[in-house]
């Protein structure tokens, strides 16, 4: 959804990270899904770089 249509529609949020932000949005009646996030590739920087490259290739 590009910026040209964002302002006309209600916000709907996916939250990754601090759970307090998801709870605050929910308290404000904003649709929100909180991801049970873990460091990708087990937090291994080498594996993460590899995974990022694979995703980029998928994209192009």
């Amino acid at each position: 959804m590009s910026l040209d249509t964002l302002f006309g529609r209600p916000l709907s949020v996916i939250n990754l990270g601090l759970d307090v932000f998801a709870l605050e949005l929910q308290a404000a009646a904003v649709p929100v899904v909180h991801v049970d996030w873990r460091p990708p590739a087990g937090g291994d920087p080498r594996l993460l770089a590899l995974l990022a490259r694979l995703e980029e290739e998928d994209e192009t």
């Binding site: 910026l3 996916i14 990754l16 601090l18 909180h34 049970d36 460091p39 990708p40």
Partner: protein
């Protein structure tokens, strides 16, 4: 000194959850120190320097949780570690009950919420680009709260965002408002006709709160992160946000809350502001206040809000040093030091970096640029938060500094900010008020006069409630002013009464 540690492999918890559990453990009987950290290299160093490292803990990796406790006895340490298990389980249960589904990936979350249009990301900075790229590639706007994101990552993210006409708000974006929804650390403010583009979260909070107090509201407040106007990023998000607000029918006036732009970006920024087609109020520390066609440059956040209110109402704006000079004169008379000595220095102890910077710029020409005349500390800066939560979440570290300042003969005025809003501490005035009482009592016992000057960023609708927080500070003897700029000027008057002539237009 029995130190015990426990490692839970692949048990990720966010930094606020870890802080709350560590706090709870420190409050248990017999516990001298406690830590709950992931096993990153930096955290291993912190554990070692705190004397909390053990052979078990040393083996933990970056996605493993380390719980470490220093207690009076082995039994007490073991009991604390057992209690920690219960605390994490209780947090998890509360979260599951509140949010119902907890998918493990962005794609799985999208299947639960197919009309999602924004991803809020507050994961550790090392992973921020990976997750934000995923979101942008799926056509989703990004609110990127994470800090410690490399500049090259920011450039890459924003270039992709601009190509796809998506917002990448951040990194290091503390606050935003979209379609009436506050994101991150946001004050509860009404919707309205003033749009903001903000390089500073607390700057946006301050402007939004001033607008709310004046009876105006925010159409949208787009955060861009503190480095957007650097040469490397080139204002990518600032320009996109200005364009979006220019086209937005609900926005009548635009406020730009900026950091000092890189020289190479200035001509493009001025051109973009001129091309907006709506009145713009631009607040950039250090830039000379002036009117430039439809663009008015102002020096403080309060001036930005006041000028925007006047512009949207079609009335003339007159800049003032104090909103109620008469009340200031009355306060000055009440606070004359009398027989008590008063130090000649101002000590600013801030939780908001932008507010600290604003105070420094206002005070340097008034009381002098260097300690002991002027010391302004941004306690949210990296050097004060290594291994500690941000002072907006954990007010204790600042409270301790306020107490210590009570013993200093050179400090005549302590200058404070207090930032309210969603996701901030639930009652930040309480620990601060207690410290203010202690500091003032210490000064009185020493035959000195010490004035504590504060301003509060917040609204009556915030969870903490502005009136109650102000009342708590005033009950402790603090002088609470309506803005950070006025508080800074008032602090100057406390140590330099001769400035009354220029600041209040009268002889001291």
């Amino acid at each position: 000194m029995p130190v015990r540690a426990l490692v839970w492999p692949s048990f990720y918890q966010d930094s606020i959850a870890l802080m709350r559990v560590a706090e709870a453990l420190r409050a248990l009987p017999g516990v001298r120190e406690a830590a709950a950290l992931l096993g990153t290299p930096a955290n291993h160093e912190l554990l070692a320097s705190a004397g909390l490292s053990t052979a078990d803990a040393k083996g933990a990796g970056p996605s493993d949780l380390i719980l470490a406790v220093d207690a009076e006895s082995d039994a007490m340490a073991a009991a604390a570690l057992e209690a920690a298990k219960g605390l994490f389980a209780a947090r998890r249960e509360a979260l599951e009950a509140a949010v119902r589904v907890l998918p493990r990936t962005l794609d799985s979350a999208l299947s639960h919420l197919p009309d999602a249009n924004l991803v809020a990301i507050s994961v550790p900075g090392a992973y921020a680009k990976f997750e934000a790229l995923r979101a942008l590639r799926r056509g989703l706007h990004v609110f990127l709260f994470s800090d410690n994101v490399p500049l090259a990552d920011e450039v890459e993210l924003k270039q992709l965002a601009v190509r796809r006409r998506l917002l990448c708000m951040g990194p290091d974006c503390g606050t935003a408002y979209l379609n009436g929804v506050g994101l991150g650390f946001a004050n509860v403010v009404p919707r309205g006709r003033i749009g903001c583009v903000a390089a500073s979260g607390t700057g946006l909070q301050a402007v939004a709160s001033h607008l709310a107090a004046a009876g105006e509201g925010i159409s949208h407040g787009i955060g861009v992160g503190g480095r957007d106007l650097s040469a490397a990023v080139g204002g990518a998000m600032t320009f996109l946000a200005l364009e979006a607000l220019a086209a937005d029918k609900a926005t009548e006036v635009i406020v730009l809350i900026s950091k000092p732009p890189a020289g190479a970006v200035v001509p493009r920024l001025e051109a973009a502001l001129g091309a907006v087609g709506k009145p713009v109020v631009a607040c950039s520390p250090g830039i000379r206040p002036r009117a430039d066609g439809r663009v008015r440059w102002v020096a403080t956040l309060e001036d930005a809000a006041e000028a925007a209110v006047a512009t949207v109402r079609g009335v003339r704006w007159v800049r003032r040093d104090f909103s109620d000079p008469q009340a200031i004169r009355a306060r000055l008379a009440r606070l004359r030091p009398g027989a008590g000595r008063r130090g000649t220095g101002v000590l600013g102890l801030y939780t908001g970096g932008t507010l600290a910077h604003e105070a420094r710029l206002l005070l340097e020409p008034l009381v002098g640029p260097v300690a002991p005349d002027l010391t302004i500390l941004d306690l949210g800066a990296d050097e004060f938060t290594v291994g500690r939560p941000h002072p907006m979440l954990d007010p204790e570290a600042r409270a301790q500094r306020v107490r210590e300042a009570g013993g200093s003969a050179t400090v005549g005025a302590i200058l404070l900010d207090l930032v309210l809003g969603r996701a901030a501490h639930s009652d930040p005035a309480r620990p601060l008020a207690s410290a203010i009482r202690d500091a003032r009592a210490a000064a009185v016992a020493d035959g000195r006069s010490l004035v504590v000057v504060a301003s509060v960023v917040g609204t009556a609708s915030d969870p903490q409630g502005l009136p109650g927080q102000v009342a708590a500070l005033e009950a402790a003897g603090a002088e609470v002013l309506p803005s950070n700029a006025q508080a800074a000027r008032f602090a100057a008057l406390m140590v330099r009464p001769d400035l009354a002539a220029s600041l209040l237009g009268e002889a001291p």
